[in-house]
Symmetry: C2
Subunit: 592 residues, 2 copies
């Protein structure tokens, strides 16, 4: 059973991502180390004791649509009430609306634990948090006053309605439409697919944020508006009124996250109300809906990254435990009686240590991204911009590297279990199935890579990424200067991977400057992985360099393994980016 790794999480937050330093510098208000510890400990307890037992239940039962009602898995309703009552929905929200105003770093750490307990369950709250972000940033005061407090407290859950059957990555071709009404509200019509937690009875009301197009809107993404469309309209006194004209048409039959209802939603077909059209309230300005989406996009992408980290952690825990218990054959050097625990076999140990390394690397990248987001809300304009750029740069890497790692680590987890891994009751297969959606939604990892290369590298004319690489080199230099024997060849390996990163980055910037985006895009995915691997090595080294006695030996040896076994791949990735595009272009003929 998953046990939230509170100690690892706290260490990574404090000593790798920089939470401790930010607190010490007074950048996070009156937040104290003690409060951080208390929050993490209690989140860990809830995730381990309350959520984790219900994760497999959700997978087995799934969400079901019965007579128009969505039934969530046994125990999930109470779990949600308990979770919301614990205040977990509102860690980062605005205190003016009942939120706790805590740093994103803490929420991201908590999200890792919730997802470790149950990814399917946690998807609901994750979407609510995104809607809270969007409404907080762009809603009118009146709309915020009406809806935010109950969304912040978790009394009402919320959804994001973007995708349509023909419009996934390209929102510009969306067809859902909105009509203006005389009273300043709108009527919404259309079909949306893949709507996570789109319908259920867990909360009394569900607040849908829906993208749609006005009749006179410009074509493409500049003609999309964002609307708040509640399942139940509110009376003047804030109590629930009439049912709005929207409903869940069907649930998807998915590979994983079975407990999370993935709905096809119909707006405005006249099923409810006197005249067709779901009543909606504009968020922000007309035709500026996509800008409202972008507000929450970075946080949402990082939240998906946390799903990857959580799957890594859960899969690793399960595999390590199995490998200690299961005996089979005799490992080289095994002197015990009978068969060895399979953890003694070098090949099994290699899988498990690789799983550990990818877990900790993914975690460090994601938490560092959250740290940048937090710091972007503080300091002067230059400083805020610096950290906003850092968060923007790290977001696609965090999302993609962690979610790819989730799939890879869960797959290794199955392999460690041997035949048992293929049997559903073991639970290793569930983690692998659940993991597979994360590289896809909130922008596929290919779209993340395109974003990284074409929009993030050019920030500050490339000087932001250059400055970041220079910082990373300093850490490699600290490893060298430490002269710690336990680091082995780490310093040289880190330097080599950073040289690969630097050379590839400059090559891509030059291609973009030359207007050759096709070549840059052809190498975007290998580049994204290169960046993630290089960061994994550096962040593990940063942790190993931290002056903390407890666990340092383990951190040093894991860092060395990572440096000497995993990150040499950056050379091949560099080669693929710089020298691979021409042959890719030529080879398109084989797809004809």
């Amino acid at each position: 059973m998953y046990k939230a790794p509170v100690e690892d999480i706290a260490f990574t937050l404090n000593h790798v991502a920089g939470l401790k330093g930010a607190i010490a510098d007074g950048r996070l208000g009156d937040l104290s180390d003690d409060l951080v510890d208390a929050i993490l400990l209690e989140a860990g307890r809830f995730a381990s004791d309350e959520m984790a037992p219900l994760g497999p239940v959700g997978d087995k039962e799934g969400a079901r649509l019965v007579d128009g009602k969505v039934i969530v898995p046994t125990g999930w309703d109470k779990l949600y009430q308990d979770w919301a009552a614990g205040g977990w929905n509102s860690l980062t929200s605005d205190p003016d609306f009942g939120g706790q105003g805590l740093p994103h770093m803490l929420n991201v750490a908590a999200l890792e634990m919730w997802n470790g307990g149950s990814m399917g369950f946690t998807l609901g709250p994750t979407l609510t948090m995104g809607a809270v972000d969007a409404l907080s940033a762009h809603g009118s005061d009146a709309l915020k006053a009406q809806y935010l407090p109950k969304m912040v407290s978790g009394e009402w859950m919320a959804t994001m309605n973007l995708t349509e059957p023909h419009a996934g990555s390209d929102l510009g071709v969306m067809k859902s439409r909105a009509e203006r009404r005389d009273d300043g509200t709108y009527r919404i019509f259309g079909q949306k697919i893949y709507i996570t937690w789109g319908e259920h009875d867990v909360t009394e009301n569900i607040i849908h944020l829906v993208l749609a197009r006005l009749p006179d809107a410009p074509a493409g993404t500049r003609g999309i508006s964002l609307f708040l469309v509640p399942k139940f309209l509110l009376n003047a006194d804030g109590t629930l009124g009439a049912r709005n004209d929207l409903h869940c048409h069907s649930l998807e039959h998915k590979l994983g996250i079975h407990g999370s209802p993935t709905c096809t939603m119909i707006y405005g077909d006249g099923k409810f109300g006197n005249e067709p059209g779901a009543i909606g309230y504009l968020i922000g300005e007309e035709n500026k809906g996509l800008a409202c989406m972008f507000t929450m996009m970075n946080n949402a992408r990082l939240a998906v990254g946390m799903q990857g980290v959580a799957i890594c952690e859960a899969a690793t825990q399960k595999a390590v435990q199995y490998a200690k218990d299961r005996t089979q054959g005799k490992a080289p050097g095994w002197s015990g009686s009978g068969m060895s625990p399979i953890i003694e076999h070098p090949d099994v140990a290699r899988m498990l240590v690789t799983m550990k390394a990818l877990t900790q690397g993914s975690r460090a990248i994601c938490y560092s991204c959250a740290h940048a987001t937090d710091l972007s809300h503080h300091g002067d304009a230059d400083e805020a911009r610096h950290w906003a750029e850092r968060a923007a740069l790290l977001t696609p890497i965090a999302k993609s590297f962690a979610t790819d790692a989730g799939v890879d680590v869960a797959s290794l987890g199955i392999q460690v279990h041997g035949g048992m891994g293929f049997i559903e009751e073991t639970g290793a297969a569930r983690l692998w199935r659940d993991s597979r959606i994360a590289p896809i939604y909130e922008g596929t990892n290919g779209i993340q890579a395109a974003d990284l290369v074409t929009r993030k590298l050019p920030l500050s004319n490339g000087d932001h990424v250059r400055g970041f690489i220079a910082e990373l080199k300093e850490i490699a230099e600290q490893v060298r200067a430490s002269n710690l024997e336990a680091f082995g060849e780490t310093a040289a390996r880190l330097s080599s991977s950073l040289a690969d990163l630097e050379e590839t980055t400059e090559w891509l910037l030059a291609r973009l400057a030359a207007g050759d985006s096709a070549s840059a895009l052809a190498g975007a995915t290998p580049y994204q992985r290169l960046f993630g691997l290089a960061l994994t090595g550096i962040y593990l080294a940063k942790g190993a360099l931290a002056e903390e006695d407890h666990g340092r030996e383990q951190r040093l040896s894991l860092c060395r393994f990572t440096a000497e076994n995993l990150i040499a791949e950056t050379a091949a990735l560099k080669d693929r980016v710089i020298n691979g595009a021409a042959s890719l272009q030529a080879a398109r003929a084989v797809l004809a």
Copy 2:
């Protein structure tokens, strides 16, 4: 829908694996090119038209145990009868017992197509073929006369019973027991798990091959005997007699291959018959059961490799089709109206071409392995030994590389589909789920790697693998000498990967010679992948060099892509083998 790639298969068989040459040299009797073509064409038709439509049915319905009876998916019973009636069960079997005595190469090609149609279905016949091999090689004349003809024709299916709950990879600790009876038969008692197609009504009888231990057997693997244990005993006239004392206790709830009944079998608990104990007939000698297993092991492992190839092919076909149909966004350079087909996006093209390359590389490795097996049955003793060693060397690589590729390619296939990939109805998820068992059974890929390094490299004191690498170098040299511009940097890349292979091979042989198997085993898995990647590059080049006009341009460009994008990973893998063991040993501390 899967369409058997008959042309690619024929090309790879003839021009890469060497079928055409072997026919021309007269090594395969009176087999003609025309007969080969006819067999492949008809197998392709059956796989595409008859099997492929029933693959998803099997996944959805699954095999079910109802009142002690195993119900196979709708249509599978007739499918099996039609398939067996087509003579497909007996391609390679001994003509004395009704077989067709054709080369393994043809059966392996057919297996690829059957698995492409439905892996869950094909598992049944695959196990029967393994049992036919074992009985043919080791059974007494009387036993063969009684059982082989109907097993060869497919009138009876057969199973292999090795695994027990505590004994998967390590058969030496098996507990099933056999007791001698006065009439020369035995009574078998025990429980076996993961028995593929262990029970069903598709054939009137099921012939179980069961490993068990005699009361006075030596401990470990030298005390295991092999028994033939039919579901129904035979009367003197060969008709079906009494029900034997064995039954299916339960079916596993698996991640994939749902249509294939995976049974827990109970032998000898007295459920059937007058006295407890399933009647069994010894195959081979007492306590030599494992040797009998080894006879069929190479073929069985290659058969699993074909599952990997088949999944690669099916996933690639599906993804290419989807990427041509689905439009989204505008790819760089897209000049059409509206959105581009996603195949135009460089990142999607990279995924698809990578899938093609891994498919063709896996296919070539597997067919080359079958070619070696075929040639090991011909020529003088030295020649036979040479090819037997080649088959032995290639088997673990074929099994592991192709099955790992199956998982990776199916995962890319999901990614190409975006959100649709996560929806079960699309079918991409099914391929990924099915693929995941292949790296596990018939010896996990980690066990294949240990076999490759510790048993196959030392063949002929290392001279066999050295000679093989020398042959591979000749192909790289031919690429260089061809001076074809379309090869790009292929020659240099091939040479570089072969240098990595050679250096790593020598390092491993030196470690083994020094008695340091722990270090050798620590790098076994990366070495196995290194070997597979190097072979992929070389075999694609061999195909591109073949003097065939049709499709040559495509083969050249795919080879170049592979050389310039995929095989540079060999350098990192070499590094991991040679320099990674010490840090792995140190990092075991993190698993404590």
